[in-house]
């Protein structure tokens, strides 16, 4: 009956390896540095949105409007840059503020008026889609004028110079080592059980190796994509929020047992509105990146992205009922979803089968998770 615990933790890396091997065997270019760099940009886009969705799902709510919102916010910025000739930073800031307002409004409606988030954000999905098409007049709006470059267009086309990439990698590895070390000292001072030194060291080594491998691959092509930095910053922030702040604890508590959370003095309404506000931020970031990645705002930008984000969370072990999930899982889930799509595109799989394959993987992942967690809770 008892399933070894590590199997659950290894499920994501295993699945990734299987997917990666499959595509690499069918099409060696899959592991080429050009394709991997492209994959990383796509991963940054999906991952950022998934991290925002993760915060919403933790409270047991949902956001179906994210995909439409991504299109709308990217579209607003594009129109301001291309048609109104605004400087790109001002355009991005304006669109960003619009996202904050819209998501705070939705959060307030859900929380104060007690309208289910499913309904409000379903309404948002349709309304934002309509607004989006109005804003871009059903046309194609480039993110930069002529052949110029601006911050907007550079979001997904800028790559760090190789030395900068290395420096950043070294700094990250050193920082991680220092944090781990400090944590060990503090833990032992407080009498907290510690993992063995060998284990801590090998974990650090594994992460550092992966980091350097990543940088090597990227530098082979054009360097570490800037969008990966956006994802990393988002992931770091969300990790800090969920693991190291009262706000994060409250998200888990509300999703786990809202009544008990309220009776523990948690300002449930404020926390949930906060989650939607943060979702607005990730929607804006994703909107800018994905629009920049397409080169222009067109009517299909953002289509179904909310479902990719939800799928990434769920594959990564986030419970739709709330109260369970981790940043690492979400990142892994996003990587799986991206690798699948990227690999299938590389193999020129027809769109019909792309949809079917993604849906199947999602269903399979959740089924497996349900099975594994049922066994885990039984023993």
């Amino acid at each position: 009956m008892t399933l070894p615990r590590p199997l659950r933790h290894l499920a994501l890396p295993l699945a990734l390896t299987v997917i990666g091997t499959f595509f690499a065997l069918r099409e060696p270019a899959f592991l080429g540095s050009r394709n991997l760099t492209q994959l990383i940009v796509e991963f940054s886009i999906t991952g950022t949105l998934a991290l925002g969705m993760f915060l919403i799902l933790l409270t047991g709510q949902i956001d179906l409007s994210a995909g439409s919102g991504v299109g709308l916010i990217g579209g607003i910025a594009a129109v301001l840059v291309f048609q109104q000739s605004w400087p790109a930073p001002a355009a991005l800031l304006t669109a960003f503020i619009a996202a904050l307002l819209l998501w705070t409004l939705m959060g307030a409606l859900i929380v104060r008026q007690r309208i289910p988030s499913f309904i409000i954000t379903l309404g948002g999905l349709l309304i934002f889609k309509g607004l989006f098409w109005l804003v871009i007049q059903n046309s194609t709006i480039p993110v930069a004028r002529g052949d110029q470059e601006n911050i907007y267009s550079l979001l997904t086309t800028y790559h760090l110079p190789a030395p900068t990439g290395w420096l950043l990698g070294l700094a990250l590895a050193a920082g991680l080592g220092w944090l781990t070390w400090r944590k060990r000292i503090a833990r032992s001072a407080y009498g907290w059980p510690l993992p063995s030194i060998a284990r801590a060291l090998s974990t650090w080594l594994a992460i550092t190796t992966a980091l350097f491998a990543l940088i090597t691959v990227c530098n082979h092509f054009r360097g570490v994509p800037f969008s990966l930095l956006i994802l990393s910053a988002t992931a770091g922030s969300v990790f800090f929020l969920t693991q190291h702040t009262p706000f994060g604890r409250h998200l888990y508590a509300i999703g786990g047992n809202e009544e008990a959370a309220a009776l523990s003095g948690i300002a449930v309404h404020r926390v949930m509105t906060g989650a939607y506000l943060l979702m607005g931020i990730t929607v804006a970031l994703t909107g800018f990146m994905t629009t920049a990645y397409s080169g222009a705002s067109t009517t299909t930008v953002g289509d179904l992205m909310e479902l990719d984000a939800i799928a990434a969370c769920v594959i990564g072990g986030t419970a739709l009922r709330g109260g369970r999930g981790s940043v690492g899982g979400v990142i892994g889930g996003a990587l799986i979803m991206t690798a699948l799509l990227n690999g299938m595109t590389l193999l020129a799989v027809s769109p019909e089968f792309k949809f079917i394959a993604r849906g199947t993987v999602l269903a399979l992942a959740v089924w497996l998770d349900v099975k594994l967690s049922a066994r885990a809770s039984k023993h």
Partner: protein, 521 residues
């Protein structure tokens, strides 16, 4: 006359609890037989056995219907044998009409279609028979509670039930509705229907029952004909048990030093919590369920609050904490400061903590660890700039409480969902204590936990008061209430039915007060 229903030597165990420990019971045709007993005496368990909810083989002992041994494997079996249970939760479908409800699943048909004229004609006849002036098409949603109850009884009777089990049928009825229900029951009795009648209202029991069986601690301790019994006699049998050595010795309040630990004690002891004339309704515009409550709670004191189910004890605690109800009038002051609009958040900030009777629902986030739950209400205390939890300080702080409370688990990281009731209770208690309350409201703190854990919880509550904390303790367990409290107020129907100093504690007086019979002593 042979009994229609007989139970012999029924024994039913739940994990850690003996709910029934040898119950004998006999119901004659055309008799109304009352079951009396304190909360937890075993009445509900007995009903669940008789109605097949606890199936055959989940208990020991035998059941007979008309002298033949029966084995109920399900509610359907019991219903087929003619036993119908009318509970407080109605088994009616609100959206359907009276006629549809009465004939649910057995409506007269014409071919494949329901024969509506026939259905309504038969329903009308039944309703007239019961003296109800209702149209058969009336949706059940539109009925009052008393009428709903009658509709359920009509349905049971029309399905040829010979035994009606009524569990607190008048709990939610007005005096008039209750009187009308009792007269219907008398008419049914005259037709030969037997009836098991459970009520906390002893006047009602004496007004209608032919015989009375008293349950205590899962045993049938006495059976009387109504003519042989008196209310005080029944109460005495309901409570008659000795207090164990379970409870910590409490210093008599009069001789207790007036908290010499805190030197500047004011000359007149100001209560930590003062409640004046408190009247509370479930929501604005609804009739109140708590009426003009007034009492004080002092530092270092345990004030017990007793009463029967539905007397308003939980409502009182949850209202004081800010989690329930709409205050119509009255005043609550904390250490002399008025507290007009309580919310859980403000209460915790002002040193008022609450431990719910339903710890799994209101107390714990079950999929999270012990440490997570302990910290939940007091994260601010271990948060350093800029809004970061100092995980190590948090761990150390929790660990002190973890050890102190004697939580039995491998460590703080253990999820709370799998802990025993006693350990879960300690976690919930610990969560409250970490908010450093001066007043703690405890609702049934030992419900569903085993004897050993109970004793630990008692000791812990006692210690809290030594540290100057004030405790308002709600308990259905009279020995527990008497063993722990310095003073007891008894609630009955949302009012204070009596206040007793420790010297005046006796089970009979307390229970009599709870039943609204202060004269029974």
């Amino acid at each position: 006359m042979p009994a229609v229903l007989t139970a012999r030597a029924l024994v039913k165990h739940f994990p850690g609890v003996v709910a029934l420990n040898g119950v004998d019971f006999e119901l004659l045709p055309g008799e109304i037989h009352a079951l009396c007993g304190e909360n937890g005496a075993g009445k509900s368990t007995l009903i669940k056995l008789l109605s097949g909810i606890h199936p055959h083989r989940s208990y020991q002992g035998e059941l007979f219907v008309d002298g033949r041994v029966v084995a109920f494997h399900s509610i359907r079996d019991a219903a087929a044998a003619g036993i119908a249970v009318i509970t407080q939760e109605f088994a009616l479908i609100d959206e359907l009409s009276v006629a549809e409800n009465i004939f649910l699943g057995r409506a007269p048909r014409r071919g494949l279609r329901i024969d509506w004229p026939e259905l309504h004609r038969r329903t009308a006849a039944l309703l007239t028979d019961f003296g109800l002036t209702l149209a058969p098409e009336t949706p059940v949603r539109a009925l009052g509670i008393g009428q709903k109850q009658l509709v359920e009884i009509i349905r049971a009777i029309d399905k040829n039930s010979r035994v009606l089990v009524l569990d607190e049928p008048t709990a939610a009825l007005t005096g008039q509705e209750a009187a009308s229900l009792l007269s219907h029951l008398r008419r049914l009795r005259a037709r030969g229907t037997a009836c098991i009648y459970i009520s906390h209202k002893l006047e009602e029991v004496f007004a209608i029952a032919d015989r009375i069986t008293v349950l205590r601690d899962g045993q049938s301790v006495a059976a009387f004909r109504r003519s042989e019994a008196t209310i005080p006699l029944v109460i005495r049998h309901m409570v008659g048990r000795a207090l164990g050595e379970m409870f910590p010795e409490r210093p008599a309040l009069a001789t207790a030093p007036p908290l010499s630990a805190n030197p500047p004690t004011p000359p007149t002891r100001q209560p930590l919590l003062a409640v004046r004339d408190l009247t509370v309704a479930p929501a604005a515009g609804e009739p109140p369920v708590l009426h003009q409550l007034s009492f004080n709670l002092h530092a270092g004191e345990i004030l017990g609050c007793g009463g029967l189910m539905g007397a308003g004890r939980t409502e009182l605690l949850t209202h004081l904490f800010g989690a329930w109800g709409h205050r119509i009038h009255g005043e609550v002051t904390l250490s002399g400061l008025p507290y007009p609009q309580p919310t859980p958040r403000d209460s915790l900030a002002r040193g008022l903590a609450f431990v719910s009777e339903d710890r799994r629902r209101f107390g714990l986030v079950l999929n999270q660890s012990i440490g997570f739950n302990l910290s939940l209400a007091s994260l601010a205390a271990c948060t350093v700039a800029p809004g970061r939890i100092d995980l190590h300080a948090e761990y150390a702080r929790n660990q002190v409480l973890f050890d102190n409370l004697g939580i039995r688990a491998p460590g703080q990281a253990t999820p709370t969902g799998g802990l025993s009731g006693g350990n879960q209770q300690k976690v919930v208690l610990g969560k409250s204590l970490l908010t450093h309350p001066s007043i703690i409201l405890l609702d049934e703190p030992t419900r569903g936990i085993d004897v050993g854990a109970k004793q630990e919880v008692y000791a812990r509550i006692h210690q809290l008061t030594l540290a100057g904390m004030a405790v308002l303790l709600v308990s259905s367990d009279l020995p527990e209430l008497m063993g722990l409290s310095d003073r007891i107020i008894m609630l009955a129907a949302g009012r204070i039915a009596g206040e007793f100093p420790r010297a005046a504690f006796s089970p009979d007086t307390l229970l009599a007060a709870a039943m609204g019979h202060p004269a029974a002593s």
